[in-house]
């Protein structure tokens, strides 16, 4: 499971990270999952019941990415992606779509944050809820049916890392 990363925050990086995550996550969710996501204040009481996915990345930057999606939102997002009604989905399909969402979102964020870098992503894996918040760079979103949380912890690479909420 992911270790707790302890990034050193820098205010300018926090603001830049927050803006990128909000823009990229909204774009990913709207373009491929047909959901409107709005950045919201962090409220994490729902995290213990979330569907959480962990992705490690390495290369010019090394770290971890976590995506948590509230259960109702996971079904709605999966249904939108597959063109099905939520009640038609199997649990496996819903999990596979959230794994794919994590893969797409992590890749899009890495490419946007560090476009000149060479990074490889590990295969996304379902994680347990207690690891849903890395304590690093973090944003929460509200969708019509619930919440989405995104966290990134950078443990090495260009020597910079950030912390904060957007």
């Amino acid at each position: 499971m992911p270790e707790q990363l302890q990034p050193a925050p820098r205010t300018d990086e926090v603001a830049g990270f927050g803006a990128v995550v909000v823009r990229v996550a909204a774009q990913v969710l709207e373009t491929m999952f047909f959901e409107e996501a709005v950045a919201s204040a962090c409220e994490h009481a729902w995290l213990p019941t979330a569907v959480t996915v962990h992705v490690s990345f390495e290369g010019s930057h090394r770290g971890e990415f976590l995506l948590s999606v509230s259960p109702d939102t996971a079904r709605t997002v999966a249904a939108g992606f597959l063109g099905l009604e939520p009640e038609e989905l199997t649990g496996t399909q819903a999990s596979e779509v959230i794994l794919e969402l994590a893969n797409i979102l992590c890749g899009a964020l890495m490419s946007t944050l560090w476009p000149e870098s060479a990074l490889s992503l590990e295969t996304p894996e379902l994680a347990i809820a207690e690891h849903a918040f890395l304590g690093g760079m973090h944003c929460c979103f509200t969708l019509p049916d619930g919440m989405v949380a995104v966290s990134i912890g950078v443990s090495s690479g260009d020597g910079s890392s950030g912390d904060g909420s957007a």
Partner: protein, 128 residues
């Protein structure tokens, strides 16, 4: 005009999404072959001809880079245009895949319109 496609991705839900988006983008798909890695794709293309191959990069057993190398070495399959669909939008990766023989590259997330535009360009080059 109907098109036949081979979709190569280790995610079954992603293959399903691409199938659906092809239809949403206005393509009439006459035949849709699917594979979860490069090995399966090459096996599926034995004795089959498709108009275009859509492939992911990161896959087990045989990834997209090796698939492109194998296609380039195959006299029959070399002429089949290949469109890479990947989360990796870094310049280095895009240039690498194009240098290996891919005719197009589209990054996730992508809209049906973006896929149609890139696919029409790739198919247009083939028919030019």
């Amino acid at each position: 005009m109907p098109i036949s496609v081979m979709i190569v991705d280790d995610s079954a839900v992603m293959r399903g999404f691409i199938r659906r988006v092809l239809t949403l983008a206005g393509f009439e798909v006459s035949e849709c072959l699917e594979a979860s890695n490069g090995e399966e794709a090459l096996a599926g293309l034995e004795g089959h001809s498709v108009d275009v191959i859509l492939t992911d990069i990161n896959m087990p057993k045989m990834n997209g880079e090796e698939l492109l190398r194998r296609l380039e070495r195959d006299a029959r399959l070399r002429s089949v245009p290949t469109l890479v669909i990947s989360t990796d939008a870094t310049k280095a990766r895009i240039l690498k895949m194009l240098s290996l023989g891919a005719q197009g590259y589209i990054t996730k997330p992508f809209s049906p319109e973006a896929l149609r535009e890139e696919l029409e360009r790739v198919l247009g080059e083939k028919n030019a």
